[in-house]
């Protein structure tokens, strides 16, 4: 078989595959629910209800999408320049650590000054964490997939050390967590009583900003050129090494914002498990979005809705909650395939 691009895809062609993908993953979930003794016909309703069925559900979905937008953007910007940053997880924690260090009383500033300072310094920390692998790549040709991947383990152990050592909350009864953030260091909630905070808005702004950078600035042009063909970019006079380093800074910084947003907006303190793999899920989000910043927002919302909905569904049907991850995985795989099939047709020969 072979794939052939479709010159002018019809509306049906654009819509049908994604719809089928969603239906397909519902079928998978229903079948598995049935096997575990749940009511397969309740699956659909329960997922929809759990993801968007109430104000609470909807806001929870947005909430979970927030860090994914940041990490998705981080991966998207890096992958566009063919900088394979698998280390968004560590960079997220870098931002989280900075937030915990600065936000727990070290700086007693008013919120209007403190929050931007923490955000910027978080970004710097995340950026620096990716700068190492980027420099190793540009200077010595060391494969960054591996260095960024391994740095995830190293940095998490480092955070673990901090939380059991210098960053440990003296009032924390020995539990490895940081002290609480002072109120000035907290991102306020958008709606009182619900967990959604201004981190979500920040994520949207970041997406738009990245979109503008990509399409309107010389840096965006350069990042794309370097990613597509570094040799031609160098020949054309682009500062290739500089562009890769700038990309690394941007990517690491964006991932770090996820950590900032989670600690400052959601958790109020740093623990070792603020991220259940947001850095890795960010890769999926970015690819699902075809590396487009605005697409990242949509993809993050999709991933979050599927997970939150399926998780609630597993409880509503009283089947093992691992069904949520199965549903997410099958939805992801089918969706990337569906997106491909909106643009290509399969030809047999």
């Amino acid at each position: 078989m072979r794939l052939e691009p479709i010159a002018d895809p019809s509306l049906a062609r654009k819509l049908l595959p994604p719809v089928l993908a969603i239906v397909g993953s519902f079928l998978v979930a229903s079948l598995l629910a049935l096997i575990a003794g749940g009511n397969p016909f309740a699956v659909f309703g329960a997922i929809i209800k759990g993801a968007v069925g109430s104000k609470f559900a909807l806001l929870e979905t947005l909430n979970r999408a927030t860090p994914l937008i940041f990490t998705g953007l981080a991966v998207a910007v890096a992958f566009r320049a063919k900088l394979w940053n698998i280390g968004a997880e560590a960079q997220l924690y870098a931002g989280a650590v900075v937030t915990a260090v600065l936000g727990t009383g070290m700086l007693q500033w008013p919120a209007a000054l403190l929050l931007p300072t923490i955000a910027v310094l978080s970004m710097l920390a995340g950026a620096l964490l990716l700068l190492g692998p980027a420099l190793l790549k540009t200077r010595l040709g060391v494969d960054e997939v591996v260095t960024t991947l391994l740095l995830n383990f190293i940095f998490l152990l480092f955070v673990s050390y901090l939380l059991e050592g210098p960053l440990k909350d003296p009032m924390g009864m020995g539990w490895p967590k940081s002290p609480r953030l002072i109120p000035e260091a907290r991102l306020p909630r958008i709606i009182d009583g619900l967990r959604l905070h201004w981190g979500f808005v920040l994520a949207l702004i970041a997406a738009i900003a990245l979109w503008v950078i990509n399409t309107r600035t010389t840096l965006g042009f350069e990042m794309r050129a370097v990613g597509q063909n570094a040799e031609a970019a160098r020949f054309a006079g682009m500062p290739v090494t500089g562009v890769i380093l700038k990309t690394a800074l941007l990517s690491g910084g964006l991932a770090a914002l996820a950590g900032f947003s989670e600690v400052s907006g959601l958790k109020g303190s740093l623990t070792l498990d603020i991220s259940p793999g947001y850095g890795y899920t960010g890769i999926v989000v970015a690819m699902l979005a075809l590396l487009h910043p605005l697409g990242v927002v949509a993809a993050a919302l999709f991933v979050a809705a599927v997970f939150v909905g399926a998780d609630a569904m597993s409880r509503a049907l009283d089947v093992p909650s691992y069904l949520a991850d199965i549903m997410l995985a099958s939805a992801l795989l089918m969706m990337v395939l569906a997106i491909l099939l909106t643009k290509f047709r399969v030809v047999r020969d």
Binding site: R2, G141, L149, I154, L157, D325, A329
Partner: protein, 314 residues
């Protein structure tokens, strides 16, 4: 014990070999996939599935080698899934890999919970026991380290030889290497890139699953959630570290395992009392990066790694 004492003890090296064994299987699996041009990030999940499938099969009454076979087939099934998405459809290998890891992991846990809903401690099986190889095990240091291991460890070492043999000495191996190097060259010689890559991903995933099964059938005797604990990701690094060569990758795995065995032992020394334990746990990762930096110049990445091949496009 001081470091010198540790490094010269057979028990230490025996531990290193044991720790390395699951990594060797999975690293060979990943190496096969990458040699054919497919980065298989499904490895972590496939190891989980293999660990579970092999164990549950033995628990259900199959002999140990039957469990290994079941793990292998389970891995192949996930390899097939990965392959369909990443090879003929050429979808992003990052997404497919992470998707497969997520799917294999959650499907395994789900199955476990459905099959064993009420157990608080998973049942145990009788795992592979060490088999002393006569004569060879009497060689000082090397003997007890290498030749008093479980059959699955021996199988891991044999596999490395086998993979090297197939890759470098058979037409099939040549085709696999070429598929990762220049798919168009393979197609122009009348071979199907799709078939070769699919085959590599399927078989490679089978070995990853056996690596997982090592944990439940040899290193331990029952299955726990999360017990693969990042070992799959390490294997991705080991493949790069081994410059995509089976022998070097084997060395890498043993080296990594030795660092792991060393850090375990160092925690008990006088240094252990002052240095935070996290630093010890970091040691293997840090040293891997350092080693990678030292040998970076030499590695030849398969040129078509992560590049999908579609006949219709130029």
């Amino acid at each position: 014990m001081d470091i010198f004492e540790i490094l010269t003890s057979a028990a230490f090296w025996a531990a290193a070999i044991r720790i390395a064994s699951p990594l060797i299987f999975a690293t060979m699996g990943e190496l096969i996939c990458e040699r054919a041009g497919v980065l298989n990030l499904g490895i972590e999940g496939i190891m989980v599935a293999g660990a579970f499938a092999g164990w549950i099969a033995v628990w259900a009454g199959l002999p140990l080698w039957g469990g290994v076979a079941v793990a292998f087939v389970t891995g192949m099934a996930f390899g097939l899934l990965h392959g369909i998405f990443s090879v003929p459809f050429g979808l992003s290998q990052h997404v497919v890999g992470i998707g497969v890891t997520l799917l294999a992991t959650s499907l395994t846990f789900y199955t476990y919970r459905v099959v064993l809903p009420e157990v608080s401690s998973p049942p145990k099986i009788t795992a592979f026991q060490p088999v002393e190889i006569p004569l060879l095990s009497k060689i000082p240091l090397i003997g007890p380290a290498l030749f008093n291991q479980t059959p699955l460890t021996y199988a891991a070492f044999i596999l490395v030889g086998l993979v090297a043999l197939v890759l470098y000495r058979t037409p099939l191996g040549l085709a696999v290497r070429a598929a990762g190097e220049s798919p168009s060259a393979v197609a122009a010689q009348g071979l199907s890139v799709t078939a070769i890559r699919m085959g590599a991903v399927i078989v490679g995933s089978g070995f990853m699953a056996v690596g997982g099964a090592f944990l439940t059938l040899s290193a331990f005797d029952s299955f726990f959630f999360d017990m693969v604990n990042g070992r799959g990701w390490i294997c991705i690094a080991l493949v790069v570290f081994g410059a995509w060569k089976p022998g070097k990758a084997l060395l890498g795995a043993i080296l990594f395992a030795a660092f792991d065995a060393l850090q375990i032992r160092l925690q008990q020394t006088t240094i252990g009392a002052v240095v935070p334990y996290q630093l010890f746990l970091m040691l293997p990762y840090i040293l891997s990066i350092l080693a990678l930096v030292l040998m970076s110049r030499r590695a030849e990445v398969p040129a078509a790694l992560m590049v999908p091949f579609n006949k219709g496009e130029r």
